[in-house]
């Protein structure tokens, strides 16, 4: 392996040495790629809700509304991690509730709540991390995924979120439900991941 490594580094150096000068690292302000409409948006929570809805993520601010949506969706088995006892009580009225995400039941569990590591208002994205989500599959395999977003953890911009990334083996920004337009350019939701993406803002 070390020979391949040396070979590549020496070819790269040989390619770069003859350059009379190299392009300097550009200096730019953190907000350089912010959309022009962002400045007018003063309330991050309202902006997050607007952007999330625009990309297909449903936003709930109270548990009752969220539970009745799941009831209307005819959900059968929902995963709710502890300690959300009130949510458990609400969902138990119409479906089975499990507090353990078992990989043996991947295809049975058709809705899951998982805590998030925050959100991004500018893009309406939910941030998931291994630290906040116990099993990556729980947030991905069920048709309905509801991320629990704390108001205090909403980043205003993409650049803010990039600057504040926690040390975690994996972070994922989820901006809407899983989608494809591979077949004749027609948009279909729920390819591999959730067909219905939602968040419950607490």
């Amino acid at each position: 392996m070390s020979t391949a490594r040396e070979q590549i580094f020496s070819s790269v150096r040989a390619a770069l040495t003859p350059l009379p000068e190299r392009t300097p690292r550009p200096v730019f302000s953190k907000d350089v790629a912010e959309p022009k409409w962002l400045a007018a948006e003063t309330d991050s929570l309202a902006l997050f809700q607007k952007r999330a809805e625009a990309t297909g993520t449903k936003c709930f601010t109270d548990m009752e509304a969220c539970a009745s949506w799941l009831r209307a969706q005819a959900v059968r088995v929902v995963y709710i991690p502890p300690p959300l006892t009130r949510l458990v009580a609400l969902c138990s009225e119409f479906c089975e509730v499990t507090s353990e995400y078992s990989r043996a039941r991947v295809n049975e569990i058709d809705a899951a709540f998982t805590p998030s590591a925050g959100a991004i208002a500018e893009s309406g994205s939910i941030i998931l991390s291994d630290g906040s989500t116990p099993d990556r599959l729980a947030a991905l395999a069920p048709w309905h995924h509801i991320a629990l977003v704390s108001r205090a953890e909403i980043h205003r911009t993409i650049a803010d979120a990039l600057a504040a990334m926690p040390a975690d083996p994996n972070l994922i920004w989820v901006t809407g439900p899983s989608k494809t337009a591979d077949v004749e350019g027609i948009l279909i939701q729920g390819v591999h991941g959730p067909g219905a993406q939602a968040c419950l803002i607490l």
Partner: protein
Amino acid sequence: MAEQKVELFARRLDHGIQKAVHSNSAAGTEKRYNVLGTDYSAPDDLRRLAGQIRQHSIEYLDTYLEQAEQSLKRQGAHVHFAVTAEDACRAVSDILKKAGAKKVVKSKSMISEEIYLNDHLGTMGIESVETDLGEYIIQIDGDHPSHIVKPIIHKNRRDIAKSFEREGLGDYNDDPETITRRARVFMRDKYLQADAGITGANFVSAESGRLVLVTNEGNSRFCLAAPKIHIALVGIEKVIPSDADLAVLLNLLGRSATGQQLTVYTEFINGPARTDRPSGPQEMHVIFVDNQRSQILASDCREILRCIRCGACLNVCPVYRQASGHAYRSVYPGPLGAVLSPLLAGKKFKELADLPKASSLCGACNEVCPVDIPIPDLLLRLRNRGHQEHAPSPGTPPMGAFAKLASSPLIWRFAMKSNKVMNLVPLEKLPLPYLQPWLKTRTLPAWRGGEFRSWMKSRHKK
């Protein structure tokens, strides 16, 4: 008359395919234009900044590649290097063999197409399933992607329904939603049974060692959610200085590729699972692949290494829209491919030296490029290289006789005057077969050769 291969392919292309490619590409261009216009007052400034970030990254690749390697190792990833495509394939299969892995799920990655990874794994007795819907259809059809973002832009729903029926995924049904649901069910089991997940990478941040992956379907996420080994194949040019640069690059990538502010799933991978974060793959391998990239870096076409694979130049290109991706006979089609593919071919450059000629040099590719690659300039440099290396050039009329004529003043003067006889000959009778198709749709003004010289001469006498 000899014709350019791309032109010939376009002429023989099925009309339905041509229409589909054209309208889908045009829709992509429009979406990109709308979202950039809505969001930015000076998108070109942003493109130039992104171009500078990427140009800086590749011109300091020696520094950043080493830094990326150290950062990745620090997080517990294994880092490998592969000089050639064969080396890269072997690196993958060695890792899999060592782990006793038999089943692999793959997320869409152009570099795996470039090194023909699936063929290699097949010969090693390893099952490798493409999980991107389009790529999966390509795989079961034994086909090749014809667009780097929309791999099956050349297929319609009826083709796909037939393929699914043949593969036993259900009775014939060409409803796109049904097709997608069937793929979902099929893939679910593949993910859960797989020993390893193979992905590419859109960017690698040298400072943090974060590997960035974007997908809309969520398939790359699934490849990293169920299997216990993750292998990432990464071209050495994908390295960027830091996470902060992503604020510019990610904002342009989604908008340029599909007209989205951000792609649905933007994933930042920072090492294998830890005891307190047990969910992901326990082993993470990153294979940095050269496969001619260091040679491209040494060439006068190094700007092409800025490319972030958004596909905007394909969508906007009048030649791509007519010819479709397979006309380019290589993994990377369109304007990007017309530059990159002959360069990646290395010693076989001449075989693809016609690709840089499949362009009217209109410049639209440069105008939409999120990293502002001067593609028309690069095409000209490659045309020149093709000429220097005496690559065959079908469709170019022989210029030898004209060169002789134009470089000998005496013969030139004579020809100017004597050509007046042309005014008496009907154009369709001209014994120049390679000019005939051109003349069919054009008329020529009357020949007045030599008159300017006579005028000049008499003017001096006065």
